[in-house]
Symmetry: C2
Subunit: 222 residues, 2 copies
């Protein structure tokens, strides 16, 4: 039995920490391309240049591996935002910087985060985890809105705030998706456009300019 005929002797044994990162890189890549179920542990192991039992030894089951991917990429994304946002900034500036950082991040890693994120929202085992993350983000956004609103001396119910925040978050996710499959688009400019519709809308709304349903024809009042 001839072993390792030729090929670069890159088969050096590597410390655990390094291999784990390589595995995660491979996993993110394969999960993104094939989806959670479409991805096989064999392919991930193969892509990481390692054999399957190693993956199990280091990162656990497929489900745990996916969570680990989600966790790493999610943390990176949050970090990218945290790096540019300081708590002493005004609410609109905080929102602007977050948006900029977020779309910049998505644009820079066109696969990876946003793809995993979409995957996770569908699959039962992860939907909960993702929903929790999403809720945290919504609360931050709602907080920003509330700050501005308080300065303007306006009262709004919590539900109202929540819905508006959900709308903003959803809009941003959607625009991020758009960014992912428009490689020629500039994240910076896209962020500006997004900020336009989001902030102008929210600001005007909170300032009191509200839209009311028309009652023109055939709408029976109760």
């Amino acid at each position: 039995m001839l072993a390792r005929v030729s090929s670069t002797p890159t088969f050096r044994r590597l410390p655990r920490a390094v291999r784990e990162q390589q595995m995660l890189d491979a996993a993110v890549k394969v999960f993104s391309r094939r989806g959670y179920h479409g991805a096989s542990m064999d392919e991930i192991a193969d892509d990481a240049g390692i054999s399957k039992p190693m993956v199990y030894a280091y990162l656990g089951t497929k489900e745990e591996l996916f969570v680990a991917c989600l966790h790493r990429e999610g943390t990176r994304m949050m970090q990218a935002i945290a790096d540019v946002v300081a708590p002493d900034l005004s609410a609109d500036e905080r929102l602007w910087r977050s948006l900029r950082a977020f779309l910049g991040f998505v644009g820079a890693h066109r696969d990876g985060w946003s793809v995993l994120y979409r995957q996770a929202r569908g699959e039962q085992p992860f939907a909960g985890e993702i929903t929790a993350l999403r809720r945290r983000i919504v609360e931050v956004v709602a907080g920003m809105l509330e700050d501005t609103l308080r300065d303007a001396g306006r009262e709004v119910t919590e539900t109202e705030l929540e819905v508006v925040a959900y709308a903003l978050v959803g809009a941003t996710e959607s625009v991020a998706d758009w960014l992912v499959d428009h490689p020629e688009a500039d994240p910076e400019q896209t962020a500006t456009r997004m900020m336009n519709v989001a902030w102008v809308g929210a600001a005007q709304l909170l300032a009191g300019t509200s839209w009311r349903p028309p009652n023109r024809r055939g709408e029976a009042p109760s």
Copy 2:
């Protein structure tokens, strides 16, 4: 071999069209609860009160079955909107009615459409189909915006329009999700809130009130 010991003799043979609907009902239910992969054909058949080969005979493979679900629910949703929108209405009224109908529909079928929709966006085989549908909707929304904008005598690039439309669509989807897991919420009122942020934002924006990125500190101009 005793067959059918007791139980209601509901085991009457039913015409194909009826059974197909029962199967689709069961499929939608199971797919929503378990997700595409989590659902088994056995469970769907069981839930429909029928055996597996029947499902294959009438609706084809699992993938085809899921597409059939998507198709039926999607058509129902589109129909709910088409029922209340006439082409001779003003753009804002068209948008308002669509929104109202959409959130009303989602609210009325709290599982079903929106859950399947989320599922489909993640899985590779259906992502294409869903993206196409989504694009059509985005184009409709973009059309509404363009109409209004043309009336206001303002010029905007197609890309700008597309991004704003994507933002609006994403925001609506997100709010729909919120509605799904807030059973106590009123779709009508939610639609109004949504219209507030969407339309006021878009209208103000297209009227020329745009937000510009601040250039306060340390931002080197190119």
